[in-house]
Symmetry: C2
Subunit: 403 residues, 2 copies
Amino acid sequence: MSIFECPSYYNEVDSYVYAAIKPVLRTECLNLEDSLHRVLAEDITTLKSIPPFSRALMDGYAVKAKDTVGASPDSPKIFEIIDYLYAGGVSKKYISANECVHITTGAKIPDGADAVVMTENTGIENGRLCIYKPVNYGDNIEAEGQDIKKGRVLLKQGTALNPSRTGLIASQGISNVKVYEKPKIAIISNGEELAAADDILKDGQIYDVNSFMIGAIVKENGCLPLKFGIVGDNPQQIKALIDEALKVSDFVFISGGSSKGDRDFLFEILQKLGRVPSFKTKPENAKSGIFVISEGKPVLGTPGFPTSCLINAYVLLVPALRKMAQLPYHFNKSLDVKMSEDIDVAKSITGCFLPVKIEGERAFPVVNDNKGLINIAKADGYIILNEEIATIEAGSEVSVTLF
Amino acid sequence: MSIFECPSYYNEVDSYVYAAIKPVLRTECLNLEDSLHRVLAEDITTLKSIPPFSRALMDGYAVKAKDTVGASPDSPKIFEIIDYLYAGGVSKKYISANECVHITTGAKIPDGADAVVMTENTGIENGRLCIYKPVNYGDNIEAEGQDIKKGRVLLKQGTALNPSRTGLIASQGISNVKVYEKPKIAIISNGEELAAADDILKDGQIYDVNSFMIGAIVKENGCLPLKFGIVGDNPQQIKALIDEALKVSDFVFISGGSSKGDRDFLFEILQKLGRVPSFKTKPENAKSGIFVISEGKPVLGTPGFPTSCLINAYVLLVPALRKMAQLPYHFNKSLDVKMSEDIDVAKSITGCFLPVKIEGERAFPVVNDNKGLINIAKADGYIILNEEIATIEAGSEVSVTLF
């Protein structure tokens, strides 16, 4: 067991947790339309070249380029129009010398042709085509496979699908893909004082908040929340619920009971479960958390105060979820802005986790403590303060991790 | 009809489109658990103060503060322990002079008590409590309503729900919320050459890509895609499908047929539909787009080439979707990094839209053209180039809008 002080909390504990997490490798087949933000469990190989045939890049006339040599407005080259061809259609005609086929953008180049003359450089006289400007071999044609060649690996296993990658798969006519299953995250709220939503509050009770917040964070990061509800301050019941959760999930998250009070049983329970040393961070303050690997499965315990629970979730849980789901490490969620005012780091009551609201190009600190939620709900994201820097001056640049 | 040149494209056309968009105001009731990233259609008002009762912030003993005056290790104050109280429980006892109740964190302060003495500053002797350090009135107590006061507006109509805001609603025991419906976006792919996924490609055909990409972008931005499939190059059929789409959707997106070729009917059709002037951007190149408002509903037409379609979608469609859904304007999707190499803006073949891949802290340009998709699928996002700046030098800071 090791104790970490802030900001080591974010340097050592989070690396420790991150290193202990393993990606979930179960796979499932999904409709391409349902696979957005999922991670490929197979290479996608090109079945068909794109384009699958040489095609016109312009509306105009398909010709043999050599027949246009010397064409000019004063001395046009004359061609017989032997066919009219639109995108999606195919011409059965073969283009011989001084013959052409009228063609629209995207249509397959007829046999015998090797260039397309733009409509703008042509005219019609007595039903025949006059070409006013020569073209070179291949002009205005996109060759078969120019974009994507057949047999090539289009997208590698492990790629997270975004709109353009979804499009790339669709270009092959593939409508089902093999992706990794969403990791299953069990969520438990511990506390004799907790009531479930819609229950009538008894005197001394408060509503469970954490399972809703954590469920949302789990969903945002490519995982599936499994809600195990509320458990009171009974160590046998807590242990039984954790055991049940471990059977059906890939990760167990439990809030409440992680401190050292009379009724905080979590530390004791998890220490018995774990095969690797468990550790606990700053047990004296609200940022205490407990992490253990039990039979290969991670269990993370956090305090019950919603803000403390939320901070632990953003700093420790989110990277773990993304690693399990094989999603990029919190990649698209930061914004560089200027600090609105001087921040005295030592006086920060949320420790190294400073919630901020962004207005324009500036980050405004949101006054908060480790208990309440009203203020953090106003924040757009947070800054990790480095205790070695005593003050962040107004106007200096800070990187905000967005909620 | 006005023609815009790049980069005006991104300054004037997008402002024009954005200004013409109206938020969708239909509402629906959802389970709180299903409301992540949805937008509140009602104010959420506090039904219960949080905490709903004054509660202990520490494990210890609830006392009258005045009875502890003068307490010290040498001269402890002695108290009768009249009850044991845990979070979630309530004591029926009234604390009189020199009486105390053992209490755990989160438990309701018993009547008569006005402070909590930490366990660390106490001892037990002959079954009675010795207090070694005085406390002040209110010490270690969180007063009723200290976090959230009853009757206060917790979250305003128009707020997009994130995890902490979801938690704030849960703190009230509210499990259903009124949110705005997702705007419905009709998606049509136009082109005689297009085949649907899973169909066998006929000679001259390619698979429809755009409806998959646009469907994904629509989902990413809080809207609901309604797929209207593929329509060939028949102006009556195109018009009929747009009419049908306008009846059931809030916005119609159609790719293909937006140029000025023989079989590009879209411009003509939309001009007849529109009550406000339609416009078209750079019809000569792949970035041409058409936008019109028909009986209050926006219709956006883009070229069929996947990259052109995608660029139009990111630049014109995404802000429109977010405005319709009342989501923040593309807020959490940019990243400031350094350019990996010199960029000659005039030579950019994708015009002012430069796809980049991010590695470490640097943005690497992805070579691309307006037709293919293979390279853009490798990109992590894009930079908007300003034609007034001829070169972006290696190492200079650029803002990448992430895909």
